[in-house]
Symmetry: C2
Subunit: 431 residues, 2 copies
């Protein structure tokens, strides 16, 4: 029996694209076994034909014309690893409309246009797979769609940005400040020269939007995700967190209840004895809370050429198996429901607040009165000794469960108290 | 368009079978969405028709005749949750030969007859899925077959027996003895009245055989797995482990190198800062070490009716999607290769040895001479003060990497030394 060939068109040959191309060349035989088909690279869209890419067999396949890939009748699956919205989004829609399956690593595009893309794919009876958009080499999209398919997902909770997790790990372990940790991460290549997307939480909102969409089978866009970065955390917050039995992590949480879905990315105090608290350095972890399986955690590399290649090729292999089986469009989209998205003000959790106050009798009473009037009760308070140059004391408190709207109001009111010199940090506390 | 119905025949309605039946009844609509088909329970094999099972809709479906399930033309998928080898194995082969897909939770049967069963399934163009055989509700089989399909697996390393992990966690945290921890586990229903299968590591060898077979795509049987239980560990070993920066876990490891596969289940010292060391209580975790994705860890419930139901129904849904797509036998078996299995004597790792010695000068020199002659060097030694009633001292040492055969020989020779009163425990140390 002749072996069927599956033709791959690659959009982009940067770090990830280069990894995909090299692996397809090097692993021909094992990809054949895994997929049942001979997986062959047809052509590769690049910006510069003459840049050296260290892969000899690649040079004949390079093109600067996207149509060479998108319209090539011998391309069955288009792998998009350009990143960014323009022109990647248009290429994805074109590939679909030309009847090609698409495997993409593009979180920006999937977070903004995922539902539209999946709808277009459904109409054209092709598949769009995007395992590589979240958590690099760590499987999470397919496990949600396949392995946990009998479950209702209650919550998704994870660490899905390696850059910030590296910075927070260094701050927690070695007491260094944010800017020093950032500079170090940049030196190691873990953070970009412009780190905004990572440290402000934006990258994580893309990934959480995708995860939540798949988990809850309803469109969740990045604009639906509350977003707060890690730039306001100080080394003092890490000291208090440790004292109180917590670790500070940038978490991405999406939780569903009868009133809707709440999706948020922000720093949080996490109990130090949970698995999520133990995720260190650039690693990622995602915990899925379900009705049947309980909590299932997936932990691994969140970025890097080879881990991302692993996820992309898993999708390519899955696609190829489907093509051989005569399977057309997968019925697994995330368009089934249209669940309400709830604002952050509806959140109810515990809160950590650190503030500097004037050292005089009655200050703590004033603070607790403000909180009490807003029905916020205090679970624990630490008052640190006076700074003799400023005559200020530091108060750290953790509230019992309270409404975000009440806490926000409390912070406004506390800041107006004469006795309060400065509200330092507010961090949500996850149980 | 009429909805296709997928008929399920259930073999067994015990704790897990009851969970499967109840969930099929309760989740009709969401299973329909997930699978694309209406999933209907046709009939259920039980031993006793009159036992109350707390599910009203079940009573009409019960039968004591296996042929009612195995020969029912309206059964597309047979779900086997009887456990044990007899008669489950025969029923599985019968179901296959009647052209039915099989979903099984039976680790005993899959560890002993997996390759044969998959071969039979291949010949009859049906699928046999067995996610529930390993780690309960934690996905691991399908991720190996799908999400990591582009990778070469280098090693599988996990905690896959919740009973022993509960016991070891209690021993480590609270300093209690094995028998007390076991009694407590039995009281909580985590250990069977006859705990042999769990505490002697046998249950874990079944699961590791299945995992290794899938990971390395070659038949590995339970009889190929070296097996050592946790019954010889004492509370003193946990004290020393903690002192030396380790946690003691019953690990299941299968590792492949150019010479073959080594598969083993035994207690091990694990560095306390690894994720595996942090897996507590009855939870399970499996780390897959690969060439592309690096290390990926899956963590979750290892047992229980609902988690196991989650895995079984994921397989049922996958099977149903395949039936709707006109997909027949999956090409994903574990029969591709025939890799050499290596004996435990070939292992090379570090070793912890605890022994009681007579307190007199020169004893440590005698011990190090025995080890040195066998080319075993010592990484660290702890000598504890004399017990004044027996006049014995306790020596604890950790070796550098050495051959298992050399260590076994050393233990024999050490035990013959006049100065050595007793070899207490030998535990392998994983890096």
């Amino acid at each position: 029996m002749a072996t069927r060939t599956i033709g791959i068109g690659l959009l982009g040959a940067g770090v990830v694209g280069g990894g995909v191309a090299r692996t397809i060349f090097e692993k021909g035989k094992s990809l054949l076994y895994a997929s049942g088909a001979s997986i062959e690279l047809r052509n590769v869209l690049v910006r510069d034909l003459h840049k050296s890419r260290g892969i000899d067999s690649l040079s004949d396949l390079l093109t600067t014309n996207p149509q060479d890939v998108l319209e090539n009748p011998e391309v069955d699956v288009v792998v998009e690893v350009l990143g960014g919205q323009v022109p990647a989004k248009d290429y994805i829609f074109q590939a679909i409309s030309n009847g090609k399956h698409v495997v993409t690593a593009n979180k920006d595009v999937m977070a903004k246009y995922g539902p539209e893309i999946l709808e277009a794919a459904h109409a054209k009876q092709v598949r769009v797979l995007f395992e590589a958009t979240v958590a690099g080499g760590t499987p999470i999209i397919a496990p949600l769609q396949r392995d946990l398919s009998a479950n209702e997902v209650i919550a998704v909770n994870g660490i899905i940005n390696g850059t910030t997790n590296y910075i927070l790990t260094r701050m927690a372990r070695d007491g260094i400040d944010f800017l020093d940790a950032l500079a170090e991460a940049q030196g190691l290549g873990y953070a970009e020269p412009d780190p905004t997307n990572d440290v402000e939480g934006i990258d994580a909102t893309y990934k959480l939007a995708i995860l939540a969409s798949v988990a809850f089978q309803t469109p969740v866009f990045d604009s639906n995700v509350y977003c707060e970065g890690i730039t306001k955390l100080t080394s003092r917050d890490f000291v208090y967190a440790a004292e109180l039995g917590y670790t500070i992590k940038l978490i991405a949480v999406a939780r569903k209840d009868v009133e809707g879905i709440q999706a948020r990315v922000h720093p949080a105090f996490i109990s130090s004895d949970t698995m999520i608290a133990k995720v260190d350095g650039v690693l990622n972890a995602i915990e899925i809370e379900t009705d049947l399986a309980g909590r299932v955690l997936f932990h691994g590399q969140g970025a890097g050429a080879m881990p991302t290649t692993s996820s992309i090729l898993a999708d390519v292999i899955d696609c190829s198996r489907g093509i051989l089986d005569g399977k057309d469009s997968s019925s697994i989209g995330f368009l089934r429901r249209n669940t309400q998205i709830r604002p952050i003000m509806d959140l109810e959790t515990k809160y950590y607040i650190r503030m500097n106050v004037v050292e005089r009798p009655g200050v703590l009473a004033e603070i607790t009165r403000v909180l009490g009037d807003l029905e916020i009760s205090i679970a624990s308070v630490i008052q640190k000794e006076v700074d003799f140059t400023t005559l200020q004391a530091e108060i750290v408190l953790i509230s019992n469960r309270a409404k975000e709207s009440a806490i926000q109001q409390a912070i406004t009111e506390l800041a107006e108290l004469e006795a309060v010199a400065e509200i330092g940090t507010m961090v949500r506390v996850e149980d």
